[in-house]
């Protein structure tokens, strides 16, 4: 066995049996950032204050995407999310500014919610790209990763 649990002993993909795992409270936090021109971040900031709320739309997209995770990731178990929250941090700098997105997801169930938190992060960042691409096609998404997870037999994980 190679440790890749999404494959059975003969190497075929399957949705792993979690029927024997107890339903416990699970939390995962993921993060990622999108780099952009300083002028693009300025537009986003102006929009939040006045009009053209890029981050408000992106937040909704991320929350809705979290609910679609098992539809997107082939071997992911469906689960009933009990909480999703999306936070933004604006990081103005020159010449490259950024928006950092951090997503917390929770459920009570037999499997973790890392993929839900990561999927919400990715779609939130992509939505920012979509909404700003008319002025900045060169935006880049970086540093998408799991920050921490809690609950379940494997215990807590905190990114180093």
């Amino acid at each position: 066995m190679n440790g890749l649990t999404h494959f059975d002993a003969s190497g075929q993909a399957h949705m792993v049996d979690v029927g024997d795992k107890p339903a416990t409270r699970r939390l995962a936090v993921a993060t990622g950032r999108i780099d952009m021109q300083a002028s693009t971040l300025a537009l986003i900031e102006a929009g939040n204050a006045k009009k053209g709320d890029v981050l408000g739309v992106a937040r909704i997209a991320g929350i809705m995407a979290a609910k679609k995770t098992s539809d997107l990731i082939p071997l992911c178990h469906p689960l009933a999310l009990t909480r999703v929250a999306v936070e933004f941090e604006l990081m103005p700098a020159s010449p490259i500014s950024s928006v950092r997105c951090t997503v917390s997801a929770e459920t009570i169930g037999p499997t973790g919610v890392e993929m839900e938190a990561l999927t919400a992060t990715q779609i939130t960042l992509l939505t920012i790209y979509d909404m700003c691409k008319a002025v900045d096609r060169g935006m880049q998404i970086h540093d998408v990763r799991l920050l921490e997870k809690h609950g379940g037999k494997s215990g807590s994980y905190t990114a180093p």
Copy 2:
């Protein structure tokens, strides 16, 4: 006007009118990479040759996600993709190895397919994360961006 076309003159989000734009052939290429431990990449490579085909599953996830783009990105127009292809490049190195994913998407329509190529890239990389997370929770996704796009009034774009 601030150049963010997804908002109208009063700053409200809308799905932009593309009814006057001719249907032309559109191509977009996006890329991104996932960093992992060298031992994780070794497992992926072994799987491709023998069993446990991580990249084969991730490729299918990416192609299917491309078709869901307008369901995920709020202001994205629905369109009928005419082609999607997902390529991988394995980049073994020590201590950090990587898989690079590059997606080409095409349509014939009034709008571009950047978001489809980027969405497929994100979900492909996330699926690799999902399938390997049991052995490597610290994987990170970086450098997700548009490489090139062609077709439409705004002409071609090639990443610098």
Copy 3:
């Protein structure tokens, strides 16, 4: 705090944490009606008896829509419905006739099912509109509201 629980303390939308709420039996009943020409209602009645079963199709659409509620309403928690039923009351009158639709939805979970009952009501009524619009474009939907809900910490609600 303004009482709008779908926003956090800083006014940002989030999917509210229901992880501490016990799973209890929840019932909600919603209703709504569509007004139409008397001749349109006559066609619907004829169809039920003989052919062209407008209400049968609309009922199925409503039940299926109830299952999509958390996919449609951004901050709605996903939940596993344990029952959905759609009832119709035909109200012939002159010059305006109506069909009233009443939906009951149930689950066992930490959140209520008002939105599921209301969504099913709306899509049931819209499907009636779709199926009859070739003969009556002026149909109107009115009086869509929650009739009652039971279960959960906030207790029962019955419309005045």
Copy 4:
């Protein structure tokens, strides 16, 4: 024949053949309103200015729902929307205040977009209900109807 085109000559439901209809530009405008306590509308108005953007979230929900119309309405043809816009009018009054929502939808295709405009209207109003139900369970949705449609063989329709 009874004029209900969604049934064939034997009374069975079908998706009508539109293969012979030319692709023309289609526009539909639908509207509807949600009645609420004056204090609920005051909260919505405050949110737009400061925090807790009920209408911003509802608008995104409506636009996304327009794209799901053929998935919700059983006999509706799938089509590629070229534009969706959601407008709100706040109508403060005592004791019943309202928010009116008006949706414009467009496509270039063989079928009209009434159902897309109406579906977006319904889900927009339902999302307002969802976001305010913690303070006002008695909100009611009224007067959902088609205002106008243009394009296609049957010509223009304007509500009387």
Copy 5:
């Protein structure tokens, strides 16, 4: 090259490029049957006449499934169906009775609609199974196949 067009020259799955194929009118007809006890068919027949319309519900399920084909079949191109019709033939016999389902699907586009016709057939038959399984768990689905297809460069196909 082995003739399996869903794989590229290196054997990797892709969504085939159809961007150079002209949009032509496409028709496909698929069929399949579900075998059951004679008493089960008798219940279905009674339901059509009086109450419990198994075939009416199954027909709607099939039409809606046709619209989801590209969401279910990984390498299938999305397309805009212009017509879907589901026909039933009841075949009472002893001891095994059957319902035959035949689906016609049409589009105007660069790819055929065989998969849409076959998917609708499969889900229609499965829905009959679902609705009758409480009285007959041993029902079997057989003989699901393409009857004919027309349109496109490869010309017409008629099952032998």
Copy 6:
């Protein structure tokens, strides 16, 4: 009462109340086969060994389809699958060869998972059809049925 539980006493379709049924472990196994030319099976076999992994793609399609069951089958309750596995048996013969697909599905809940196992079987077989149709349009799907189910008040079922 005729025993068709998906209809109420008045013959109207409903989603049956399962709120009083305890959540127990449920298992269902379904099977089906697709017949093809011997040369088509040879291509599939070659692909598994070298390139063009038809069965690998079909397996993923089936697992993902299992998660969409309640979205496809109108009166099916949504449930959280805890395991899905898809097995293949290649049956070379002349002139007709076959691939048999067997799916196991599990959940812990108030309703069975027969429909999930059957839906996964159907979509797996359809995906094989899709991937091989360029070389063999005459493939036929046969013998789709429930092999066994366990758990729940009605007890175990094993196909005769």
